[in-house]
């Protein structure tokens, strides 16, 4: 489904360019173009994933190409879901990444000749991976909102406002976005880990394999859990919570790439 994904990439690129221009020039009309092409790209992307599923005969989240494309799709889905916080800055920070993910998915080309590990055919496996991909996407949003928070907080404290300062959403807005996305991400991560454990126990009877991905996932879970708890008890607000959102994303990256570089139980295909 290369041609369809190419159209998706085009829509995302148009959106990314318009978001960046809207962000730089504070133009409302550009924002409308950006939003519409994001939605168009999302619809096409959904169609492309469904087509992949039907044609290749397996859930389109197994090989690297599929994972990248799916991750991009999940990020757009979250942007659509969190439309309340839409702002030129949010689009300008995420759409380029989403375009890059789609681009690399295209670059890797189709691997429909391969068939995934038959073990992954269980219905639990796609649920496990989908939940986790969405959790990663949510944590990226937390990371982005936290960076926006820290940039602005620093300038407010230093009392020197740069051009980017005037273009970012308000402090409480990015804070709220981070809280919402963190709560969402934590829920998805928990469910994803639980389904993984159930799947594993059905398959081999063990729940925990001590492999790097699992350890990082647990650390990530602990970090976002404490972040959410601290936030709700209001002892940790603002800067400290934002730093945790940034550090947490580092762990997320380790979890995501963990199996690829460190090996272990989570290596397939």
């Amino acid at each position: 489904m290369t041609s369809l994904l190419l159209a998706v990439l085009a829509a995302y690129l148009i959106a990314a360019i318009h978001y960046i221009l809207a962000f730089a020039n504070k133009r409302r009309s550009l924002l409308r173009v950006a939003e519409w092409s994001t939605v168009t790209g999302f619809v096409l992307h959904t169609a492309s994933l469904v087509a992949d599923w039907v044609i290749d005969g397996h859930y389109p989240l197994f090989f690297l190409r599929e994972t990248l494309s799916f991750l991009g799709w999940a990020l757009v889905a979250l942007l659509v879901l969190l439309y309340r916080y839409r702002a030129p800055a949010v689009g300008a920070f995420t759409m380029p990444l989403i375009s890059a993910l789609t681009f690399f998915a295209l670059l890797l080309g189709s691997d429909s000749a391969n068939t995934p590990d038959p073990l992954s055919a269980s219905w639990l496996f796609p649920i496990h991976t989908t939940l986790l991909i969405f959790a990663y996407a949510a944590f990226f949003i937390v990371f982005m909102a936290s960076v926006m928070y820290l940039l602005q907080e620093r300038e407010l404290k230093l009392k020197t406002f740069s051009a980017i300062f005037h273009r970012l959403p308000a402090l409480t807005t990015v804070n709220e976005l981070a809280i919402t996305a963190a709560a969402l991400g934590l829920t998805l991560l928990t469910l994803g880990m639980v389904t993984g454990m159930i799947w594993s126990s059905i398959r081999t009877g063990t729940v925990w394999h001590n492999d790097p991905k699992e350890i990082f996932a647990l650390l990530t879970w602990l970090l976002y859990f404490s972040l959410t708890i601290y936030r709700s008890t209001a002892n940790w607000r603002g800067r400290r919570a934002a730093w945790l959102g940034v550090v947490g994303f580092g762990l997320v990256l380790c979890t995501f790439f963990g199996a690829r570089f460190l090996g272990g139980y989570h290596v397939f295909g």
């Binding site: 602005q152 407010l156 020197t160 005037h166 308000a170 402090l171 002892n235 603002g238």
Partner: protein, 422 residues
């Protein structure tokens, strides 16, 4: 038609001169009637504000110099100044330059504080006075409406009016930057100075729902509280209300700190670390500078505000450069509109002339046709008119397009040159 503009502004003339030239509403109406004689100066408009007096007029293309003289003379006499006195303070713009000047004035590019919003309202008022006095005709109507459009474009497409440039408005800007919307927020004034009151007014206009005023003199606190529907408290009660205040504006004359580090930390704990914006416009300072180090507290003193304002002014100036590009393209567009307006009537006249020729021919040959019913008569006439119109339509359109994009000086030409009687 040509457009002329004569005027003085804050850059070319000191206030002693500007005040002598200023027009109030009545003087403006009377002046317009005196200025527009229907002969040389066909239309007129006077924009008079504290920073500028601009006289705008429309004349025929070949009477620019005469018109310019009249406009200058008008300004001299209405300020009862000796002739020639204004010479070095005056600027005179014609056509393209006059249009550009008006666009720049209305877009607030020529203002003392670039991006201020008042001047557009003043131009609008000047226009309504001219309409009342009956001195705004076809040319100025078009020009002024185009001016409004340009000002709107500049406002919407550039950040020229973004970012506060006054201390009293900074509170709103900082509040919005921290809280996004000021709806349902509480602001506390400690000390009821004029500046604090002005800031509070801006904040209430921006949506702040509750104002708490603490002042040494309870009477003046009550007064302001009455105005904003707020609560007046005593200075000793500040601690009780501190935790509820999202923004605090301090402006007392107290010689030492009214708000200390310990007080703020305690209040912050009570408000569960929600961010707080503190603005200290007192000199000597009212808030302990150490408060600025408390997490989630944003403290600004008078110097901080001043430095943000000057950076905001620089930002506005950068945006003004983009605004100039918009003005430039709109000036060119208006020039074209003006040329089309010039050529419009002569093209209409030409069409009528052609129709007259056809009617005259019909009258001459009418006898040869013999008796006709009225229906037949009408048919013959409509046949002639349809033929004339069908032949001339593409030609006239071509002409209109041609004159719309070229030099205005020859736009008087078509009706005369194609005159079949000559």
């Amino acid at each position: 038609m040509s457009i002329l503009l004569v005027g003085v502004n804050h850059k070319t003339a000191p206030v002693e001169i500007r005040e002598r030239l200023a027009f109030n509403d009545e003087a403006c109406a009377a002046g317009l009637r005196r200025l527009v004689d229907g002969d040389i100066v066909r239309e007129g408009l006077i924009v008079s504000t504290c920073n500028r007096v601009e006289i705008l007029g429309a004349t025929a293309n070949d009477q620019i110099d005469l018109g310019a003289g009249l406009l200058t003379q008008f300004l001299d006499t209405s300020g009862s100044l000796p002739a020639g006195f204004l010479e070095k303070h005056l600027y005179l713009h014609t056509n393209e330059e006059a249009v550009r000047h008006l666009f720049r004035v209305a877009s607030s590019l020529d203002s003392m504080v670039v991006g201020e919003t008042q001047v557009l309202g003043q131009v609008r008022h000047a226009y309504s006075l001219a309409v009342e006095a009956g001195t705004a005709g076809k040319v100025l109507n078009r020009l002024v409406h185009h001016t409004f459009r340009v000002a709107k474009r500049v406002r919407n497409e550039t950040g020229i009016a973004a970012n506060a440039v006054s201390i009293s408005y900074m509170a709103v800007e900082l509040g919005k930057k921290i809280f996004d919307t000021l709806k349902d927020r509480t602001v506390m004034l400690i000390g009821a100075g004029e500046m604090a009151e002005l800031s509070a007014r801006h904040l209430v206009n921006a949506g702040v729902s509750r104002v708490v005023i603490a002042n040494r003199s309870e009477a003046s606190a009550q007064l302001i509280a009455g105005e904003f529907g707020g609560t007046a408290i005593r200075l000793e009660q500040v601690d009780e209300f501190l935790a509820e205040a999202d923004m605090i504006i301090c402006s007392t004359g107290a010689p030492d700190y009214v708000l200390t580090d310990a007080q703020t930390r305690k209040a912050l704990e009570r408000r569960r670390n929600l961010p707080t914006c503190l603005i200290d416009i007192g000199v000597p300072r009212n808030i302990d500078p150490a408060v600025g180090n408390v997490p989630n507290v944003f403290l600004f003193n008078i110097d901080d505000l001043e430095s943000v304002i000057s950076s905001n002014i620089r930002e506005r100036e950068r945006e003004a450069e983009r605004a100039e590009l918009i003005v430039q393209s709109e000036v060119m567009q208006f020039q074209q509109t003006l040329r089309l307006m010039d050529v419009g009537p002569s093209i209409g006249a030409l069409r009528e002339k052609l129709q007259d020729v056809a009617r005259a021919e019909l009258a001459r040959q009418r006898k040869r046709l013999g008796p006709l019913t009225s229906a037949q008569e009408a048919a013959v006439e409509s046949l002639l008119m349809a033929t004339v119109n069908k032949i001339s339509h593409p030609l006239l359109n071509q002409m209109r397009r041609f004159y719309g994009t070229s030099d205005p000086d020859i736009s008087q030409a078509p009706a005369d040159t194609v005159d079949p009687e000559k």
